[in-house]
Symmetry: C2
Subunit: 649 residues, 2 copies
Amino acid sequence: MTGPNARPSEETLRDLLDGRWAHVRRMLRERLRGELFAPVAGLGVEEHRERVGKQLKALSATELPGYGFSSEYGGADDVGASVATFEMLVCDLSLMVKVGVQWGLFGGAVQALGTEEHHTRYLPRIIALDLPGCFAMTETGHGSDVQRLRTTARYDPASEEFVVHTPDEDARKDYIGNAARDGLMAVVFAQLISKEQNHGVHALLVPIRDAEGSPVPGVRIEDCGLKSGLNGVDNGRIRFDNVRVPRNALLNRYGDVAPDGGYSSPIENRDRRFFTMLGTLVRGRISVAGGAGNATKAALAIAIRYADTRRQFERPGTGEEVVLLDYRAHQRRLIPALARSYALHFAQEELVGALHDGSTGESPDEHEQRELEARAAGVKAVATWHATQTIQVCREACGGAGYLAENRLPQLKADTDVFTTFEGDNTVLLQLVAKGLLTHYRDAFGSLDLLGTARFVTGQFLGAVIERTAARSLIERLVDAAPGRSEDADLYSRGWQLRLLEDREKHIIEGLARRLRRAGSEDAAFDAFNNAQDHVLKAGRAHVDRVVLEAFVAAIDRCADVETRAVLDRLCDLYVLSLVEEDRAWFLEHERLTPSRAKAVTEAVNTLCATLRPHAVALVDAFGLPDEWLTAPIALGAEAARQEQRRGA
Amino acid sequence: MTGPNARPSEETLRDLLDGRWAHVRRMLRERLRGELFAPVAGLGVEEHRERVGKQLKALSATELPGYGFSSEYGGADDVGASVATFEMLVCDLSLMVKVGVQWGLFGGAVQALGTEEHHTRYLPRIIALDLPGCFAMTETGHGSDVQRLRTTARYDPASEEFVVHTPDEDARKDYIGNAARDGLMAVVFAQLISKEQNHGVHALLVPIRDAEGSPVPGVRIEDCGLKSGLNGVDNGRIRFDNVRVPRNALLNRYGDVAPDGGYSSPIENRDRRFFTMLGTLVRGRISVAGGAGNATKAALAIAIRYADTRRQFERPGTGEEVVLLDYRAHQRRLIPALARSYALHFAQEELVGALHDGSTGESPDEHEQRELEARAAGVKAVATWHATQTIQVCREACGGAGYLAENRLPQLKADTDVFTTFEGDNTVLLQLVAKGLLTHYRDAFGSLDLLGTARFVTGQFLGAVIERTAARSLIERLVDAAPGRSEDADLYSRGWQLRLLEDREKHIIEGLARRLRRAGSEDAAFDAFNNAQDHVLKAGRAHVDRVVLEAFVAAIDRCADVETRAVLDRLCDLYVLSLVEEDRAWFLEHERLTPSRAKAVTEAVNTLCATLRPHAVALVDAFGLPDEWLTAPIALGAEAARQEQRRGA
């Protein structure tokens, strides 16, 4: 254990956190300043949209929008930089989301699903914001199950056009960003029908407004109205009444229709084609995880700085009131959450790197792509739930002051709330992670047809496959060096910790596979899966926890400064031990921990909170969120000033 | 176990839930209708305040404001009815809070802390809303530690006046409801100083605005500005610059100053006097718990009705999509929360009853009064955290629709958020509960000076005292009839369940007492208490859980209808078993459950969710929240209509 003497270097921490796209982050800290980008609370919906529109316009004049696009069309071929940019827009999360809609979802879909003709024609205008657009996937009736969207795009060979149609209210496009006010065009996801055959969901470019901003004939647009937060984003509903678009409106990279209506695709299997198309959306999920991460860091920076200043109740006999962060209960609320934010930050960094590297190669390895998608889904779910929970805790930790708009927490909370829902509902995403793990398991050990008949050739399992995602050799070395599953292993042994989380993941997946294997008919298989749903979610969660720990371990390995590293080591201990504490019922039930060892974990969490408490402010300052983005007076000295005035009085 | 055939009678349930003040609830369901009381979202701050002002005015013309006041001054001497009224104001929680400020806190303080002169002069005007007022206790620097408020009221015998003064920014009154716009007068809590002696915190009536609404000389008022929610309430800050008020401005029931400055009080001990004064505030805490309860019920009604209609993902081979509430994960999110809402409802009903009965007797028994205060503090903490958590879960369970203002969840969430903070920060309140339990323990077993020197005469503990709060003889009968702490006891045995929670509470308190007893000096005692803070909070929580269970058991005993009772029995099983599941790490660590039995608890929770699922809608409908208060289209048929339109198409 590190004594209280080790002091982290803020600069070293900052560099480590800023990571590969440090130059982008540094530049944004300088650029996103001044009145235009200052967070403001209490704007009316129209005012807020107007303001975000101006901010977006200002950004469009810079190189930022181009990061994620091909250099052929004025971009920079730097997907990592585009995600880093998105993450940094915490000055107003409405701007963050609006940027994501225009250049991530809309522009990203044109780039990923379209072909050269679309790129040449649209990308420069999209980048320049001359063509504001929407990503019209979700329908009122189908948000999670997008394979069953019901908007249709029926090909008419006579006119060589597609007829885009909304059959009923259930099929209207809903919650679509950029739709209520600004969008001129939309990437519309619809069932592609040609020659009376349905080829599944495809995307088409459909104009929705004319140059004057009025809906084009056949298109009806409705405003979603006031939302819990993100009111600077103009979400709307769109209905199509037999709207005709030319044949080349189809984004035809993964599926095309010939003039005579003949359908062709480089991917034969319809499901595989659909999931390949969806896979192009992985960037959105990664971005949301990162955005949630930075909003959480902002909340922690506010709450921890305040807790380090604010006093309440006298320490008997001293005449001095106790600083909030010296209370154990307060430490327990904030410091484990801080540790988890660090851990998730490094997992995010790994994800962005993998996304970026995958985007630069010609065609990414399919297995790696699936793995990235699963990891993105899992980290998105965990990071956004962490945001919701932590920002709430921060609000409460700041008491009545945390409820005032001036202290920013209300806005951070309201804006991030929907992050657990959009870009994939978290509950659905964690199931997706678990399904991926089961598929992987099946590939390694035999057939396991999840929703069909489950048949295993053998009853003998060697254990689920643990695939390491970061610093493979380092992690393996640590795990191998750890003592066995012994009562005596040091709770602070990284190898033991890694093995503990690996073991939990494997055990849960194996148990799940066994459970599902028992199911017979298709009907029974569905029920088996549904009855195991809590087990399924737990599998996804256990996987993400382990992957995140590996990323944290790998990051610490990159830190050269001894004292900073020592503090990060304790923070990593706290991350993993607070996870173990939270789930110690499982470890007890499965005899991975004895009762006395479980109690020792709780004690260790308490000790670590106290050890890290003196570094808490340095650890949040290292996030590098400028005061101009935090704005909260309680985090910027107001409380300290009051106490000084009082002492002077 | 009840089969799926038992069907609860909604009428029986409603009557049981409506309880002793059913007539008030029924009347309010009829009265709070029409345009004036319809929930509206998206109002600007001024508009919202204006609207709430009108609603308040309308209520002031009825008998409602008088419920909590003495019949001598035009009231009804019916405290229970006043709390029931507060609870029912879910049509707009800003109205709820504004009612609480005017007639609960302000009027309540004048009644409880003042004497006949104040009552005669002010109560009729307060009831009629001719004198809108504030309860100015909290200061910027002191919210939880109100004993150390720093506003002063210095007696000047020359003029027979008090001089009320704010020494610095730390001492300004903050977050005060009714201050920013409407209040003409404030009950100001200040250190009472006479003849250079400080007699501790007392309350005085201080005019803050003249009849035209301008602040009176020496009073500065500032608006707290936009808040996360409750923007219909005009919270503000007040500073006093040597404001003079006559001697009789002192609310002098518990402490008086003679013309010459001599101080007298019926309660000699300063601390006891202070806590007696604070004890009069118990009604506010009980009201907040009830308000949080009804907001939670509204959220559950919206989310469960939607979950019972909304479909997503096809059940393989059927062509039918699955209703959300048929998914286990969805059941697990909503149905245990529903069970807890029922349990808390009955605990609340007990509390209101005890408050009411205590208010009608001459002078309540001091022990009973302390017990009521502790229980109110504990239930307030648990009920408001339950609200924050459950409303969040409901929002997520409704996906994107839950994020739209029209579906009410955003407002319920934003408004109730501060309930965990005001009327006592929850973390502080739970510690108060635990301290009460320890005091009780000490009274039974010997000296335990908590924050001073801890000394115990004997090392032998017989066990903490479990004091039953509801249906004593019934609970005792059940506990006595239960088998011992055996592996074979039926998980559904009520006696076993009761004993399990009792045993946990006793064990935690005994352990805590032992831990604190070890501390020697005053300084060490503080550290011991701080180091045990997580243990302290757990003790408070365990106590509340048990008290709430007893209230649920007592309520079921009042239900005569066999089928309804059977369903309530299962709901009570779910309440207690989901608590046990949540805390099963503790039961495992302390060998109260074996691993296999802990797993059986999880299984039982799953089974109970499935058993109760068919009754979920009936159970929320029984809350009796009119559709006009819910307003959410997704809860009132919009989703069903879309699905029908689709089927017809």
